[in-house]
């Protein structure tokens, strides 16, 4: 095939992407070395001051980061388990298969923040249906204003919203599996549980890794749900990294400091996702 044509196919997309991205990324790095804030907007040079402040004098950033890790890992594990169970259930013939498949996909098609607006009324402490039904048992959890429970409210909403995505990826995987191993297992008379442990699960391992990584990447961006549901509150108990950077950068206009945080955050994300991907590959594929 001709040599030159390939560049005409590749370059428009590649250059548009690089063109849009290169300036912001260089700019974030440069901005992080400046003291840009609302009193003093401008690209002065203050060296590593922002980074020193971040690493020695800002526990709130690290707390929000650990909170984010907790929230994203918990939600992704829940989504994986539930999503796999659901996908496995509607994989083979059941009644109303297509109805359930569509229904289980619906939440991911809805805009998270708009559904969160509904969830807010749903979990309302005196006027919402959840506490109304729970009042039968004489309990009335403070879904949105208790520092511990609010985290679980965020998890519930995230699981509702994004389990469908996991379900979609895993069902697509299940539908693409070869038939022969299952025939062999059926001939051997394997029970459903054994069939799952020895045939389905190992065959699904590479797909599982892919799905978990994709969801972890997306889950690490949790921010808009939190913003609408609790605004990071009560106090800072549901604040995630993105949300904290947002407050510093675009509310308090400490652009320089926010840039240093977002650059640090990006690096941590890349490193931790790479490690998680490696570990998952090792554990699930038993390499």
């Amino acid at each position: 095939m001709n040599f030159k044509h390939k560049y005409f196919f590749l370059f428009p997309g590649l250059f548009v992407l690089i063109g849009i991205l290169i300036f912001p990324i260089i700019f974030v790095v440069r901005l992080s070395l400046s003291g840009w804030n609302s009193y003093n907007p401008g690209l002065d040079y203050i060296g590593l001051e922002n980074y020193i402040r971040l690493f020695t004098d800002d526990p709130r950033f690290w707390e929000s980061f650990f909170r984010l890790s907790f929230l994203s890992v918990t939600t992704v594990i829940l989504q994986y388990v539930i999503g796999f169970a659901l996908a496995h259930m509607v994989w083979k013939d059941i009644k109303f298969k297509r109805f359930f498949r569509v229904l289980f996909l619906v939440p991911m098609m809805t805009t998270p923040v708009i559904m969160t607006v509904i969830w807010r009324t749903f979990f309302h402490e005196s006027l919402g249906p959840v506490n109304d039904l729970l009042s039968v048992f004489g309990v009335a959890p403070k879904w949105l204003t208790d520092p511990v429970i609010a985290k679980f409210t965020v998890i519930i909403v995230e699981v509702w919203q994004w389990t469908p995505f996991m379900f979609l990826l895993l069902l697509a995987g299940l539908l693409s599996l070869p038939k022969e191993p299952f025939l062999a297992a059926a001939i051997d008379g394997a029970s459903p549980v054994r069939k799952f442990i020895y045939v389905t699960f190992p065959l699904m391992a590479p797909i599982s890794i892919g799905a978990i990584i994709i969801r972890l990447i997306e889950a690490s961006k949790i921010m808009d749900t939190v913003y609408v549901l609790t605004s990071g509150g009560p106090g800072t108990s549901t604040e995630t990294s993105s949300f904290y950077i947002f407050i510093k950068g675009l509310r308090e206009f400490q652009m320089g400091y926010a840039a240093s945080m977002s650059f640090t955050y990006l690096i941590i994300m890349i490193i931790s996702l790479t490690i998680i991907a490696k570990v998952l590959t090792k554990v699930l594929l038993k390499e």
Binding site: L10, V106, T111, I114, G173
Partner: protein, 282 residues
Amino acid sequence: MNKLYIFLKYFFIVVWTVFVVAPFLWALTTSFKDFQSVNGGVTYIPWFDFEPNLEGWKVLIKSPAKGGVDIIEPYFNSMFVTCTASLISIILGTLSAYALSRYTFKAGFVKNNDITFFFISQRIMPPIVLSIPFFLFLSSINLLDSLTGLIVVYIVLLMPIAVWIMVDFFNKVPREIDETALIDGCNPYQAFLKVVLPNSIPGLIVAGMFCIIFGWIDFFFAFILTFTEVQLLPVKIVALNSSVTPWWSLSASALVSVAPLIIVAFVVERYLSKGNLSGAIK
């Protein structure tokens, strides 16, 4: 054993179905309520618990001066931005994906897989990292608070998805068909347009749907990069939520806003069952 399994299976499906449907049902009933049935204790069943009325739905078409919620313009803005950005991403992404699937690239240690990874890895980028420079950048060229500015940003969000899905799809389209076309005297562009593309329509539809989903549901960039001149739907609804909008009109506008993409669920399911999505994830 088998009966227990089947029982558990249906039990779980029913529980999950209730969980999925609950917020929609709640919003639907709430949208027909009035002040008394929202604030005077929780009510569930129309006609039995409360007398339904259409007030919540009427405000959707009223002008803001008469107490309407004014979501029609944000609706069209959202559609315009999502569709334009998706279209550009699909066109550019498909071309790049085709190149990455059919030709070999090598520049130093950078090979095809690295370029593909570069495209896809843009999804790792936390939106907040880009939002601050975009905010300053767009304000310096006067594109802050404009549809054009948002479209540019959304291309970054959506092109990785298009490339990801299309590379896998092209890898499954047999190479022989482009080679035959080339032997028959097409140039590479004709071969791509007349032979490869028509054979890739399922892939294009899947990629298009995912671009539309992820464009339509984005809130963060629209929230940071627009204020008053243009408003996208999610931003509008959240603004309604933080003002004193009553629950019934809030629920009605929320339902109207999430409705169009539910149709997409049917299309996704069709392609899923046909096996057209399987390649994308591996």
